[in-house]
Amino acid sequence: MSGKLDLDPVTVRQARSLARKAGRPIVKLAQQHTTVSVERATLRLAGLGGADAEGTPWVNRLMDAVRADVGLEHGVALPVWDALARGEAEDLVTLAQKASAGSVRFRHPEGRDAQRARSASKRAVGGGIRRIDARRRERDRLIKKHGDAPRTPWIYLIVATGDIHEDIPQAQAAARAGADVIAVIRSTGQSLLDFVPEGATREGFAGTYATQENFRLMRAALDESSKELGRYVRLTNYASGLCMPEIAALAGLERLDMMLNDSMYGILFRDINPVRTFVDQRFSRQVHARAGIIINTGEDNYLTTADAVEAAHTVTTSQLLNEYFAKEAGLEDWQLGLGHAFEVDPAVPESFRLELAHALLARELFPKAPLKWMPPTRHMTGDVFRGYLLDGFFNLVGAMTGQSILLVGMMTEAVVTPWLSDRDLALQNVRYVLDAAGGLGEDFHPAPDGLIASRARQVLAETIDLLDRIVHDSDQAGDPPLLAAIADGTFGLMKRPPDGGRGLDGVARKARDYYNPASELLEEK
């Protein structure tokens, strides 16, 4: 810890221990349940892709057929590989086709049959895991060959046309203009689809569908750019919503580099059932850990609904919880792109110093994490000139507090989707600040009793209060305290009960004989 804020190590340890206490029952819950998306991800890792004539993926068809015959609670692996062993079909696609035509009956195998299905499924899924491993080594090799981003913060730019074939030239232009990370925004509403669309897509709403083929096309295009530019350009997408596990698997298979991955976002902003998404999140994070993917968490979103000063401690609280969940799933410090944002109302006196305090607190609490620093959105008014100044101050906080991933703010936020000139001006803004003040952190030592240090201590104290309230929360059903707290509206002012929201029907408590080869392989150390 660099110690500019002189945080009390005992207090910091207390915060982490409370986060662990709040998180552990959720992990237990996740271990006790499975979801349709976890099972479909397992099938994807075993190599089942493609879709039927109506566009319904074969993994959905097969999953639904298995569930109708034997339920979800045993997992999909044993019934599927038992059917293959019984000679119902020669491969997974044929089995899925026959199953959706109703010509296969699944059973839950026992004894030697179960043993046979178990080892066959593990072999098949192992193939997918090995492919993910190979993709990770390939990334390391390409970074060595082309070189890494020239400095931190990494410059993160978004493309979002809805058409993958339009996204590609835009992404390549953004990389040429200086982006180290390209994020392809997903189509609005994809988070609520309980399937992953198939193939290259050209029609999205305010974004482009996340599909395996779109991932492949964009990664190939950015590999070209990396070669041309002599630095590895990273690709980001979203493993969030109802299909977190499957999208995580596809990201690993197609060598995506960073993934937005935060179930709290789905719970609060998309009304996804909390149990469903915590189960999904744990599996998807295990995949990300294996794939060497950096996750990005969504704490910045709380500040788009709640006040950035009053709710600053909810960001810190969520970061601590996310750190616990991520590490439990096997992610390492360098993979934790914890989120936070520059959203204090500029009309608040000393707003810049408050931003510095919040950003420095995150930096010092998580010294090894590649923090993701998000630009102002809430107080961007359409006055593009004032917005440009605000973005400059945002960049300055990023430089002074050593943020790792900087999402480039657009002065036309809330006005238009960024024009070519908006992006160019925004990058000039970033470059000016980093060139002019990139090393300012070295000279920046807030006074121990000044506003910045005391504000940081105050936010940390409020965080501990909140975590303490969470671990003592309860509901009548006896749910884990964190679920009770989410139901109370503790985060982002939204109340989300554990028995509400989307996707609950895709959750099952694991039976005693549940088996999932992917979980087994991912949890092997």
Binding site: A173, R176, A177, T188, G189, L192, F205, A206, L268, F269, R270, D271, N301, T304, T305, T377, R378, M380, A414, W419, L420, S421, D424, L425, G492, L493, M494, R502
Partner: protein, 242 residues
């Protein structure tokens, strides 16, 4: 007294404006000339290209200042005024509290085979749209979002069960006029299920609706492309809680 105005830079009547744009032309003298010509055609006379910067090999960004000679007669300006006041979330909450003394209940759905929840989610989900939070954000509004592919009878049942004050329906798909047929079916079903004075307010939205068709379709209001949650909330308050 005078209702004729022209832009103001630093002297009354100077007519000065500032514009910026990009041309798909590599930066060169010719490109600057093109920018100057465009500004002149837009009515800037004289047009001063004060800044030109290449953006990549194929584009150039310009900032242009210049004088326009156009006059605007304020008396001749016509605007379509919204027939209800636009309220902040705080004002919406306060109005509901004051007049209903309970939460206002809104049910939302995409009806028929339409699976595009983009519109209804933009209005209802807390995430919202265009920088405005959705209706879920309003403390005094209870939102029940039924999601996609909801049948009309189910929608009516839920509206009865929840004692809905308003029903919001989003329709994106327009093949064979599906949005119009679905909306008529919906308004007819609500007409049958409720006495006129007890029927919840019916609101439909979608990018292809004609906002003037509400009477014909039997609904209380149609919202088109670009509608924000705040506009919908303000309308609901205007009709239900004021």
């Amino acid at each position: 007294m005078t209702t004729l105005v022209r832009p103001y830079g630093d002297t009354t009547g100077d007519g000065m404006v500032q514009i910026s744009f990009t041309l798909p032309v590599p930066h060169s003298k010719r490109a600057e000339g093109a920018a100057q010509q465009l500004a002149a055609k837009m009515g800037l006379d004289p047009a001063l290209v004060v800044h030109a910067k290449p953006m990549g090999p194929d584009y150039t960004f310009f900032v242009v200042y210049g004088r326009v000679h156009h006059l605007v007669d304020l008396d001749a300006v016509e605007v379509v005024e919204r027939d209800y006041p636009l309220l902040t979330p705080k004002e919406v909450n306060a109005a509901i509290k004051r007049s209903l003394r309970r939460r206002l209940v809104v049910i939302g759905a995409c009806i028929g085979t339409d699976a595009h929840t983009v519109g209804i989610d933009a209005i209802l989900n807390i995430k919202g749209f265009a920088g405005e939070k959705g209706l879920e954000y309003y403390r005094e509004i209870k939102v029940v979002n039924l999601g996609a592919q909801v049948s009309v009878p189910h929608l009516v049942d839920r509206a009865v069960a929840e004692r809905a004050d308003a029903v919001l329906v989003s329709q994106v798909v327009t093949q064979r006029d599906a949005h119009l047929l679905n909306t008529r079916e919906m308004s007819a079903a609500f007409g049958e299920a409720f006495r006129a004075e007890e029927r919840p307010l019916l609101v439909v939205g979608g990018p292809r609706f004609d906002e003037a068709m509400s009477g014909e379709l039997g609904v209380d209001r149609i919202f088109g492309r670009g509608t924000t949650p705040g506009e919908v909330a303000s309308f609901l308050v205007h009709r239900i809680a004021s």
